[in-house]
Amino acid sequence: MYEGAVQELIDELGRLPGIGPKSAQRLAFHILEADAEDMKKLVTAITTVKERVKFCSICGNVSEQETCSICRDPRRDPTMICVVEESKDVQAVERTRSFRGRYHVLGGAINPIAGIGPEQLRIRELLNRLSDGQIEEIIIATDPNLEGEATATYLARMLKTIGVTVTRLASGLPVGGDLEYADEVTLGRAFEGRRHLS
């Protein structure tokens, strides 16, 4: 244990995802020894992000405005929605350039251990988007792991009654992994070879 401020910083850093106690300590001492100006930039970047960046009111993607640039872009295909778990997955799919529709960010996957059920995800918002009948296909691009598959099964069952085409990315993605770790080519192929769920 260190004195007051240092320990507080270590504790805060340790709460970040992927940072264990040792890394937290290393980061804290890096910050302590770093140039004060550089650290101010970091603080400003964090503050700005928290003040300015919101979530798109339509798709849930990160956005500096009420709606994100993809939802505002008139060239995007309004008949297709790609459903992903997180905003970072939107970036992963965008990199493939295989998809010209719009997105819907769920905010996670069904995960009873973590206390996440359908109500904790942005599923009602997805249903609302379907109400005007414009959407023809929904591509489910949740992670290729158990929780992602369970979420896909859940969505497919629910959407079956609505009469929209539901597809799932083709297998071939590294099983058990995160969508964001799939390389562009593999992910692009998974889009092309998507299969019907309903």
């Binding site: 264990g20 069904i110 009873p112 059920g117 158990l146 369970a150 069952r157």
Partner: protein
């Protein structure tokens, strides 16, 4: 196959130890508590990625350290493979094969095959079904490494489904949860069917070998038989006993494919729904199944004498050995046999017979506190385990 060299770093009591081993019989002798079992436990770990003594990895890390390393050179016929496994606290374990880039520890499975006999084996017969399920699954994964995924996929689905049922019992069950339960049913049925199919096939393979081993170990007229009992044939209690009169044998499942078993599970889940919601756990699935051990028509558990219980336990291990031999009959492919402190537990007749069966194996590693407990048939190299390490000077 045989282990030619074993090197441990921060594993159990050893900060660092190196042991040269070779084909044939090697006896590790030393007083109790000096670290004989720790050495052979490490070799067993390379084969199953688990200890035969504890269910978690934590006790394997030397007190106060965060990483243990097991290194072994495995010789299979003309092929030498260096296996390394890094056991980490709080992080995923990693493996390396022939100094290549680190991979998931799971990739090491199937390279080193061992059959380990230990005093703990008595629990295979006497204790609850979880010990017998673990026995089957460890053997399965060692024979067919791809089933490591079958096993862990099922365990993960089970945890999720149990978490959901538990929250249901706590009264937090919303309509959303109910729809998700059906989703978890689907995934658990599919994963459970894979595991069940693999276990059923394994028991078919194992059955004649266990019967043969039992006959070789004993003189009496009793026959040993193993049967798989699935919760699909009727619910079992936590203790492996049939609840009510519905328990049948798994025979009716023998010819069913994975998709057919999946369907069976879905039907069984629906039938168990109310009770599962009441108790907040999954009651149907391979995690509640039992491997029945039968001696002369009666269940070994609870009916067998102490000596018979030992013979049954040894027969499960010897039967595994025979399955491995059948699976890879080529020279240099037979598993390493490890007999950890078992002779002290056995009467003279069982000692002699066991020794006679294992003596011809390619590599036999024996541990004993007292040299006199080792049957003469197992004459071989002696390694003295002394405080803090080993002394190979003794022959």
């Amino acid at each position: 196959m045989y282990v030619e060299h074993l090197s441990l770093t921060d594993f159990r009591s050893y900060a660092q130890v190196d042991v040269e081993l070779g084909p044939g019989v090697t006896v590790l002798v030393g007083s109790n508590g000096l670290g004989k079992t720790n050495l052979v436990e490490a070799i067993g770990y390379l084969a199953t990625l688990g200890s035969h003594r504890v269910s978690s990895d934590v006790p394997l890390l030397r007190f106060g350290t965060e990483q243990a390393m097991i290194r072994a050179m495995i010789v299979r016929g003309a092929q030498k493979t260096l296996l390394e496994v890094e056991i980490n606290s709080g992080r995923a374990n990693r493996g390396r094969i022939n100094r290549a880039n680190p991979v998931r520890a799971r990739e090491l499975l199937g390279i080193c095959r061992t059959v380990l006999f230990a005093p703990e084996d008595l629990a295979l017969v006497k204790s609850d079904p979880s010990h017998r399920r673990r026995f089957l699954d460890d053997l399965l994964v060692s024979l067919l490494p791809r089933h490591a995924a079958t096993r862990s996929d099922f365990e993960r689905v089970l945890k999720q489904r149990n978490a959901l049922l538990k929250s249901a019992r706590a009264g937090k069950f919303s309509s959303g949860h109910e729809a998700t339960l059906e989703v978890w049913d689907q995934h658990m049925a599919a994963a459970g069917a894979q595991l069940l199919r693999a276990r059923l096939d394994l028991v078919e393979r194992l059955r004649p070998h266990v019967a043969r081993a039992y006959a070789e170990l004993t003189e009496g007229p009793k026959e040993a038989r193993i049967d798989y009992r699935s919760t699909l044939s009727g619910p079992l209690t936590d203790d492996g006993n049939a609840e009510g009169a519905t328990a049948g044998e798994a025979a009716d499942l023998a010819g069913l494919s994975v998709p057919e078993l999946t369907e069976r599970y879905l039907v069984a889940f629906a039938a168990a729904r109310r009770r599962e919601l009441e108790r907040g756990i999954s009651l149907v699935g391979p995690h509640r199944d039992e491997l029945d051990l039968i001696l002369g028509g009666a269940p070994a558990r609870g009916f067998a004498s102490h000596g018979e219980t030992w013979s049954m336990a040894l027969s499960l291990r010897l039967g595994s050995y025979y399955v491995f031999l059948e699976d890879a009959p080529a020279e240099g492919q037979s598993p390493v046999l490890i007999l950890d402190d078992v002779f002290a537990e056995l009467d003279v007749q069982r000692r002699e017979r066991l020794a006679g069966i294992v003596a011809g194996a390619e590599q036999v590693l024996v541990t004993a506190a007292v040299e006199a407990d080792i049957p003469d048939k197992l004459d071989g190299r002696r390694i003295a385990v002394v405080p803090g390490g080993i002394d190979e000077g003794q022959r």
